[in-house]
Symmetry: C2
Subunit: 413 residues, 2 copies
């Protein structure tokens, strides 16, 4: 579900004509729908009402301050993975009590900043990290809450690069290691080791991998309870898949129905970390066609957005639906590759698509809300795009377009 | 050849201890060797002396102003692909007469900027682009020089994403189309169509694809000469491979020996566009190990640099040599994955490497001068690294490290 729809031949984002936005703010342009954002957040909240979980939006999916503010105001907490994301959480005045912090490589500086801010807990990914946090907490005379990230060794059935719950990935710890840490918790006097965290991957469209993972940690929770170790939190991470093309992912409510009984069994306070599910379909990348290039071998729609704006097609061979912002009948019925101006063959947004557009038309790349702008770069010395947030009949800029001057601001000849 | 070498157990960049640089400027840090940069530029220049070519360094490989300045001062021209790169060329006061501009997606604004700056020529990639430049030139009452980019349909034997001379890529035009344009040059009264451009890909280690491509365009040049059409320039692009691992690429002089006879035959002024060849091995990414994580399945060296700093391993499965900055004997002889803190499995710098380092040690990722910083991003809200240029016993910062504040500078809550 999202609010990018045609009325007759024109694409709208909520009540705004996308072509008006492109004319006003220029292209390439990220356009987000606030209604879509909130709709997805509230769907998860509603689906899990029975558990009253802490929902921590995964900042890495889209970290724009305005996006974070909308979600935090609506009651969301934040799942962060770096000091930079903590800084963002501060800027939108997110209560520390609603912040969880995962990452395999938290630095000493980042750990100190997070302790100072009073985050709810660290999701700890290794024994050396546990020792480090304990030592830092001791030096700060603090007692710090942590969850241990369990690597449940399940197959998430998604792209290798975003599978994170297999035993040979860098994430989390195997169950035996986690059990041992819990049994020897006294080794870490400045830590309260009270949670278990799992996060098995991204863009997962079925419930079975989640169920398998939760069952494994439930068993561990039971074993620990038997030894008198009582936990507080079970964080099941994020990873819910969305529709990019013809996927038929589980809805939030289907997913909830399947996992709530298992989560209730754990007896713990539940934490969820949705990112893509909330923001993925809330954003579109709007571009303008620069040239239509017909070769004897192929038709290319060359646009002014590129892999530096949206890396997912190139990096993950990800599919994004691409639509004309205005439906016009041209003559061409050939399939086209939609490509950017960056000088490599890896610079494409879509391949072999039916996209009937001419020169200087606008196109919309849907499903670009998550891991879109967040992964953008200045490759080929391209200033990064502007971002606009639409709310009903209003649109406001939430990130200004970069200028040439911005490109060199930190450089010294 | 490069100037990153050990003296006893310490890695040096020219006369500077890399560990001193890392201590002083912090990590992740890009370190460049000016001697390596100039050495490679001069090697190409020397190898092609017989032709006195125009060498246009390919800005996209590494666009830092200080790097550009070093090369421009030594006589290099610039190969640009965007308005942002033209802006950089202006900042280092590169003469327009030494600038060539390629890209499949030049916008009207970019074309105007380049004409205003008085660049030597556009490398034109399609008929619609040719028409556009002609119209813009007419509106500006200018006469503009262009080369036509020929897609010679040769296999460069490199990664698909950086192969650019096959007929089904978005680059250039097939030979028949190019011949027709030359024969109908009168259609474009504001253009002087006087050059041919080829660029068949990147990181090409053999001369055979170049030879095949040059032979094809030589034939075309002969045909045109027969029709009374006399060209001025032949631009053979870049693409010379370098050593990342165990490649044995041709040297500049081997390459020159093979192609000079063919280029002489063309009778035209030669343009070269080396990028990676000049800057690739002139840069290293220095990182610090955050944790050594031993799992029952694998050993991970977790460092403070990530895919946002150096995307090549993740995007192209590219191999980079990774060395300890100080050789110390630890106990571990296990192979390690060298990974960053970014929350995806695609975030790695090297896999299954013998790298005997402990916590808080520095490592150097070699061959990071080209397409390293240029492709970096703020993914996971990570400020981008600083860049340092070493010249003998001196090191100076050429790009300041980004701060948390920089991350949100353009955002509006």
């Amino acid at each position: 579900m999202h609010y990018f729809n045609y009325k007759k031949n024109d694409l709208y984002c909520e009540e705004m004509l996308v072509s008006d936005l492109a004319n006003k703010f220029a292209t390439p342009l990220y356009v987000y729908s606030q209604a879509t954002l909130l709709d997805h957040f509230r769907k998860i909240k509603k689906a899990f009402t029975a558990l009253n979980p802490l929902i921590c939006y995964s900042v890495k999916a889209n970290s724009n301050l305005a996006i974070l503010k909308v979600l935090v105001k609506d009651g969301s907490g934040l799942d962060i993975v770096s000091g930079g994301e903590l800084y963002r959480a501060q800027k939108v005045v997110c209560s520390g009590k609603k912040i969880v912090y995962a990452s395999v490589g938290k630095t000493t500086k980042e750990i100190k900043e997070a302790i100072n801010y009073g985050i709810l807990m660290f999701n700890v990914e290794s024994s050396p990290e546990l020792a480090r946090i304990n030592a830092i907490a001791a030096s700060m005379h603090k007692n710090v809450k942590v969850a241990l990230r369990v690597n449940p060794d399940v197959e998430a059935m998604t792209h290798d690069y975003i599978t994170t719950g297999k035993k040979d990935t860098k994430f989390g710890m195997d169950i035996a290691t986690v059990r041992n840490i819990f049994l020897n918790g006294a080794k870490y006097p400045n830590l309260k080791i009270v949670g278990i965290h799992i996060h098995i991957g991204s863009q997962i469209t079925k419930s079975s991998p989640f169920i398998a993972a939760i069952k494994r940690v439930n068993k561990l929770i039971d074993v620990l309870r038997g030894k008198g170790i009582i936990l507080e939190h079970l964080n099941i991470g994020g990873g819910l898949g969305i529709i990019y093309n013809k996927e038929t992912p589980q809805t939030a409510s289907d997913f909830a129905k399947k996992v709530i009984p298992l989560l209730k069994k754990s007896g713990l306070k539940i934490v969820l970390e949705p990112g893509r599910f909330i923001v993925g379909n809330a954003g579109a990348l709007i571009a303008k066609t620069t040239y239509i290039k017909e070769t004897p071998f192929k038709r290319f729609v060359i646009v002014d957005a590129a892999m530096n704006d949206l890396l997912r097609p190139s990096l993950y061979e990800a599919y994004h639906t691409i639509l004309p912002v205005k439906k016009v009948k041209y003559k061409s019925s050939k399939l086209s590759d939609i490509v950017g101006p960056v000088c490599e063959s890896g610079d494409f947004l879509g391949k072999a698509r039916a996209l009937d557009v001419g020169e200087n038309d606008y196109i919309a790349v849907l499903g670009a809300g998550a891991y879109g702008f967040a992964m953008s770069s200045n490759y080929n010395s391209r200033p990064r795009a502007a971002e606009v947030l639409v709310n009903g009949k209003e649109a406001r800029i939430i990130r200004k377009r970069e200028s040439y001057k911005d490109l060199i601001q930190k450089e010294i000849i």
